[in-house]
Amino acid sequence: MEHYTMNLTLKVWKQKNMKSKGQFETYQVKNISSEMSFLEMFDVLNEQLIAEGKEPIAFDHDCREGICGMCSMYINGRAHGPWHQTTTCQLHMREYKDGDTIVVEPWRANAFPVIKDLVVDRQAFDRIIQAGGYVSVNTGNAVDANAIPIEKHKADEAFAAAACIGCGACVAACPNASAMLFVSAKASHLALLPQGDPERKIRAINMVAQMDKEGFGSCTNIGACEAECPKGISVENIARLNREYIGAVFSGGSDNA
């Protein structure tokens, strides 16, 4: 693909802190390379703002290689922008052309309050993990591969669920702001493996209870989460969590914990 440069208009959400009311600010950026990532384009904008003596835009980012899940940006109506199974840091400017206007918003959900500008508080996810997304026993050092025999298809499914990076795009994309894709991925990768099996019932009950407590919505099986997930987590995990939960509550739940 040919390299080109572009001038863009950016409408970015600016919000001083959790309590203040935010609004959109409009910025112009010039000579953006088509080979830049979306975050590099934001770096250029922030350098420009600093040079002008203005406050730069706060946004979350860390690894910039698509595996950490920090870069939460809702770009022109899409979580992490329009590319399929791609985080914002891996979205590249060749998606855009000269003169485009791009609207950038933070994740929107009551459970993810805006801390500043595009940065949201995703600790609700941490609290859900703390409620049951773990194995209680100390497993010590990594054991030899295949020391515990696991069926191939189960290992594959567990691995696919474990690919979840907890970025929150599922919540951001869901019209109900439901966290079911995240919770189901975390419950699934443990429930599918022998190490996670003993606590699967209490895990399902406690993680769902915490999810509800955090103020996420009910899953109505719309499927926008799966469409927007940068790691391709399937809604089949949601069906599994529903099974886990129904099985747990009908069998008395906590008797194995």
């Binding site: 109506g77 959900a109 019209p175 109900n176 509800d212 919505g217 099986n221 809604v235 069906a239 129904i246």
Partner: protein, 226 residues
């Protein structure tokens, strides 16, 4: 899980929607089957309708049906209201149909349209048949019964009524296309192996049953039956 969990937890609420939804779907099959008797004969339809209206077990099931409808409606609106409040500050630009199907996001709206249609529909047939008895009587196989067939002929003389019924059935079709699959997904039955099959059965069921329902007022209006 005690009974309260069905109304308080997010998955419990969805289970109530799924179970009542599938129960209402089973009713639709019976309703469609009985009504399809109009394509057989006037007497066949009247006899079938009379059986449904006078058999005690079916009258008891009818109470269950109304309870199911009520539960589905109340729980549905509670879900819509709760989910509507999970994002105080909305997005300026929405994904729309790029990430999901419009009907899956519009179950509350489609359900409301079906509810409005149901009010009209119940007033047309159920009320005169079961409450007021405001219908002509006919003799079928030496038994006196309501001439519900004639009632259908009369009601579907009006093109406006036919259009209202078609809109009701159209809303039902989209509601079912999502609802059928969604019920199975909530119950956790849409595993990798069966997901596609359940989805396709849901679509086929919704289209077929709604085409059959739509054929009834249209046939009456056009005079294709009788």
């Amino acid at each position: 899980m005690n009974w309260k969990h069905y109304f308080t937890t997010s998955i419990g609420k969805k289970l109530v929607m799924g179970f009542t939804g599938l129960f209402l779907i089973s009713f639709l099959i019976v309703h469609c089957y009985i009504n399809a008797m109009i394509f057989v004969s006037r007497d066949a339809f009247n006899a079938a309708a009379d059986f449904m209206g006078t058999t005690i077990i079916i009258r008891i099931m009818e109470i269950g049906l109304f309870a199911g409808i009520l539960l589905h409606i109340v729980q549905g609106y509670m879900l819509v209201s709760k989910n509507g409040g999970t994002r105080k500050e909305g997005y300026a630009v929405k994904a729309g149909n790029k990430t999901s199907a419009w009907y899956s996001r519009s179950m509350g709206l489609l359900g409301t349209l079906i509810l409005l249609f149901l009010v009209v529909h119940i007033a047309h047939f159920w009320v005169p048949s079961r409450i007021t008895g405001d219908l002509n009587e006919v003799m079928v196989r030496d038994r006196e019964m309501h001439d519900l067939y004639q009632r259908m002929v009369d009601v579907f003389q009006s093109p406006i009524v036919v259009v209202v019924y078609l809109l009701g059935v159209f809303s039902l079709a989209w509601h079912l296309i999502h609802g059928f699959y969604s019920a199975f997904q909530t119950m956790g039955l849409t595993t990798h192996k069966y997901k596609k099959m359940i989805r396709n059965i849901g679509i086929a069921f919704s289209v077929i049953i709604c085409l059959l329902f739509a054929a009834m007022p249209v046939s009456m209006f056009m005079g294709w039956v009788n």
